[in-house]
Amino acid sequence: MIKIKINDRDIEAKEGTTILEAARAAGERIPTLCHIKDMFPSGACRMCVVEVKGRPALIPSCAYPVEPGLEIKTNSQRVITARRMIVQLLLASHPFDCLTCTKNGFCELQSLASEYGIDRVPFKGATRHHYTDFSSPSICREPDKCILCGRCVRICEEVQGVSAIDFTRRGFNTMVLPAFEMDLSETACVNCGQCVLACPTGALHEVRVIEKVMQVLQEGKKHVVVQAAPAIRVSLGDFFDLPAGSNVTGKVASALRRMGFKKVFDTDFSADLTIMEEGTELVHRIQEKGKLPLFTSCCPAWIKFAEINFPELLPNISTCKSPQEMLGATIKTYYAQKEGIDPKDVYVVSVMPCTAKKYEALRPELSSNGMVDVDAVVTTRQFARLIQLYGIDFKTLPEESFDAPFSTSTGSGDIFAASGGVMESALRSAYHLITGKDLAKLEFEDARGFQGVKEATVNIDGLELKIAIVNRLANARAIAELVRDGKSPYHFIEVMACPGGCAGGGGQIFGYEPERIQKRIQALYQIDKTRDVRLSYKNKPVMDLYKDFFEKPGSHKAHELLHTGYNPRTTKE
């Protein structure tokens, strides 16, 4: 421990920490705009400056390690003047449309302006302008609102390894744009939405579809049904100030029902369906000496990433559609048939923790008989806004359950939202498929956790199965390169684009906070643990669905409706 002084208080700080971390641990608030926890400091925003005795200039606390005997002032007049000036400078080139901004109430710049009591902006002058980019089906960019903190750039480059956006131009005219000022849809952007989570202002946000959903609901011409993804139930509570990781499954169902959806389905159901298909595919590939390793296919951002960067690996990716699309396809065929509704009149909305799902729903490969499997995708954030709009008091909302026939799920479906969850569920079922027995211990501890790359060897009746689980696409790139170069020892690889899996998805409540994501993951495993049924092949309605409709996993009909294909993709160059 290192002894330092902060605001005349004696503090013991951990060695190797920065002044910012030490001060925050000691209960001092230091504002930041460009700081991202656990990443190399950028030093761009200068909001975190502090005064250090003996130093002529102010010191950025985010980048400066603690040294014995440092005497630090985090709130001296000089520091406050500097911070106020920085906020004023940002506001001077910022459009003043806070009341109509999508980020109104959640904007970090807005709260800093309020905290620092900015009552006027003394510097009016030139502004930067770039048109709003609506080209992407998932992410909308408003560069005029960008404060150039660079969080999106670093996330896109360092976490996701995509680098779709970067700083362009120089000096005051600097902007964050795709290369050559292209539109986002022309770049290698995989629609993951991590940039949206990272953005402190309204410069990056998802494409809104709640108006469209409300219109369809109000008109009443269509049979509007909804499905909610596993990750929603452990993250929605954040918006309503519940502790991180609160399980609000019942409230999700009742809120959706109050909005007027005819049926409220659980995507967990189709997660089990996915496991049946994917587990069968895996066993088939192993037994028939098919293409290995097998990559999972639940994550649309990963699929797009592979199509752009690793076209040679597309045969290695499972042909299974994602749970969202599987349920959509099943609703528009099996459910419509069963209910006697023309599938054309069925409108499927899904609530997803993801912006890439918006793009996935539009993939031409993911439609049957000329109908898209899913009609509209609402993110967790937009769902929360809808709850507000409909005047639903979330706190007093009763807990209800999902609607049959797609209501029952197993623990295997729940953990889909955590990185490693798909792998764990698939292994539980694969064991059964190979041996015909149930696993004695269902938990695969090696598959769990927030870290970017996990690997393990699983023994199924003498069959040594080497598995890898990666989240964050930069890690996926490294693993995919191994596979491409023929150096991969693995049989089965799960890939999720977002940190921690869907729990940290780009459509979740704002803010990139690893602790919050970990709490959500813990909550998911807790749900799994308390379930009576934890194995996909023991989900009775799923088995009934096979009996009534799909015959068996991997059948011709299943292939027609539940599987898909991939195509190499180029970006504009």
Partner: protein, 607 residues
């Protein structure tokens, strides 16, 4: 045996040294004489380029200035045929082993050179920069040999003992920097030579690279050896084609010679150098931005610590030294630390090269011992202000530096003293200004430069310097009758915030570019506040430079009605009948000054 030397640096070539060379070749052919021509770099007296030296039969080298092809013919006729050396434009004879020519002045007694101490520039303009044997004959690579014999620690110690401080601007002790990198074990270390000289009006590094490239390469090898690096990179701006050509050639020759790329002698030291061309961003002179650029990323600085000596290029320990620093190292290692340390002041040792430009009689590259006063540099070496004008200020340290007025002309040039008057040593730009210079306009110019060259990363520099520029812009803009009361109030409001804004930019910016960006404003405000006040309150520019604040009027008593001005006025702002007094319509006038230029009677008055 006689011969010819021609200064063929960029400055020489720009003034026609190439043509002089052709003329000399023709002359030799016509006279059937074998006359070897040796191209050299710039000797520093750029004002009088092209410079040609004639070596007499007796082996004495005499230097002549302002040589055109015709003058060259004349000089060759006179010197080599008539043995007449005292000609117009003579600079003087070099001192050498041969007996001097009687009655011919010595070059080092020429007023421009008399007070200079040529330490690092000793070879520039003297030897052929493209000849390795010439460099070796001048003592080249003895420094490296000594260093290899002394070992790493002792080499770093020797440089530390010499008191050499970084010549790039900040003045960090070079030996100390090396010791930090040496003490940091790693499988790979880098040595970078920073040749991204971007200050407006500065060309010290270019001249050294053009005129004595081997001293820089040798310095890099010594530095690389001292810190334990095996790879050197020269980061040179692409706008220096001749310097890059010399670097390529020099590296090539050293590789062929087995000095680069192979183990040198018995020492086991192996080093290679490559060139990375900078694309013209000023900020890439900042070391962390420079490294980002070498790595292939956008040239933006990052916070320090970690310092490059610990984690630099590609995360490996890296030392970045400036061209002049490294050139000094070669000489220090050869001649020993004591000789270098005997020059200069207590804290600033050795010499400093300055690019003397602006309103001064002799422009060029000067090398002076630390501790010389600014007055000596500007008036004794520079010859003072031309056209009988008065001295006003000197801008030292480039866009990050400050303006020093008459009352501080007698301060010493060293790292510490310059700081006391709000300036910095910088890399060596020295721009002299006379009474016709408007100091607000100077601040305006440098801020314009900074706002364009800011990398855009940190808020105070990106947003702050732009606002500061806009404030100064509003100060030099005309009073507009169209502007509302509110706008005028806003102008005043902004001006009231100017100093605080400048202070915050200085206090909080990420890199040196931003931290020093307000210096031109702060230093002119400090010494020339009255000029600002005249601009702000009276809306007048005392030096008659800020176009927006000028008013052109015709003195009706003097005007003859010749209509010359009315015909030339680009905006038809001048009205009047022939042979009667003319008038200027102020609203139409764009302050181009054409009327004043064409009036033969001095009737156009500027106020």
């Amino acid at each position: 045996m006689s011969g010819i030397f021609i200064g063929m640096g960029t400055c020489g070539l720009a003034t026609g040294a190439g043509k002089v060379k052709t003329a000399v070749e023709k002359w030799a052919q016509a006279h059937s004489m074998k006359l070897p021509i040796t191209p050299t770099g710039c000797i520093g007296y750029c004002q009088v380029e092209p410079i040609m030296d004639v070596v007499t039969d007796g082996g004495v080298r005499v230097s002549y200035s302002n040589v055109t092809p015709e003058v060259a013919d004349f000089i060759l006729d006179e010197t080599l045929v008539c043995k007449n050396y005292k000609l117009d434009g003579i600079l003087g004879q070099f001192r050498g082993p041969k007996s001097p020519l009687p009655g011919v002045p010595f070059l080092d007694e020429h007023p421009y050179f008399k007070k200079q101490v040529k330490y690092v520039l000793r070879n520039c303009g003297v030897i052929n920069p493209e000849s390795l044997s010439d460099y070796k004959a001048a003592g080249g690579f003895q420094g490296l040999e000594k260093a290899l014999g002394m070992g790493q620690q002792k080499t770093a110690d020797e440089v530390l003992k010499s008191g050499l401080r970084g010549r790039g601007g900040a003045g960090f002790p070079t030996g100390k920097k090396w010791a930090m990198a040496l003490a940091n074990p790693s499988d790979k270390k880098y040595l970078i030579c920073n040749a991204d000289e971007g200050d407006p009006g500065a060309f010290m590094d270019r001249s050294i690279l053009e005129g004595d490239v081997f001293s820089v390469l040798e310095g890099m090898m010594i530095a690389g050896f001292a810190i334990g690096a095996d790879e050197g990179i020269v980061y040179c701006r692409a706008e220096y084609p001749l310097a890059i050509e010399r670097l390529i050639m020099g590296i090539d020759m050293l590789r062929k010679e087995g000095i680069l790329g192979k183990k040198v002698g018995k020492s086991g030291f192996q080093f290679d150098i490559r060139i990375k061309k900078g694309a013209g961003a000023f900020v890439c002179g900042e070391e962390t931005a420079l490294m980002a650029s070498v790595e292939g990323r956008r040239g933006m600085p990052r916070p320090r610590p970690p310092f490059p000596a610990k984690s630099g290029l590609f995360g490996k320990p890296t030392i970045i030294n400036n061209v002049e620093t490294l050139a000094n190292v070669s000489h220090i290692m050869r001649e020993g630390a004591e000789k270098f340390a005997s020059i200069g002041t207590a804290t600033s040792k050795g010499t400093k090269v300055f690019a003397l430009t602006g309103k001064v009689k002799n422009t060029g590259l000067v090398e002076v011992p630390m501790g010389m006063t600014l007055r000596e540099v500007i008036f004794d070496i520079g010859g003072g202000i031309p056209n009988g004008k008065a001295y006003k200020a000197v801008q030292i340290g480039g866009p990050s530096g400050g303006c020093i007025p008459t009352e501080h002309l007698d301060i010493q040039i060293d790292y510490e003293t310059l700081k006391t008057v709000g300036a910095i040593m910088g890399s060596g730009g020295l721009v002299v200004m006379d009474e016709d210079t408007c100091m607000v306009d100077v601040a305006h110019f440098f801020l314009d430069f900074i706002t364009k060259e800011s990398c855009g990363k940190c808020i105070p520099c990106r947003e702050g310097t732009k606002r500061l520029y806009e404030i100064v812009e509003s100060i030099v803009s005309p009073y507009s009758k169209m502007a509302s009361e509110e706008e005028n109030l806003l102008r005043f409001n902004k001006i009231m915030n100017m100093e605080e804004l400048a202070q915050v930019i200085k206090d909080t910016s990420l890199c040196a570019l931003g931290q020093t960006a307000p210096n031109p404003v702060l230093s002119t405000l400090r010494f020339f506040k009255k000029e600002y006040e005249a601009h702000i309150y009276d809306r007048k520019c005392p030096a008659h430079q800020c176009k927006g604040l000028l008013k052109y009027e015709i003195d009706t008593n003097v005007c003859t009605g010749c209509t010359a001005c009315a015909r030339k006025c680009p905006t038809q702002a001048i009205v009047g009948e022939r042979k009667k007094a003319h008038y200027i319509v102020d609203e139409k006038c764009v302050r181009c000054g054409t009327c004043a230029d064409v009036c033969r009677f001095g009737a156009v008055k500027v106020s």
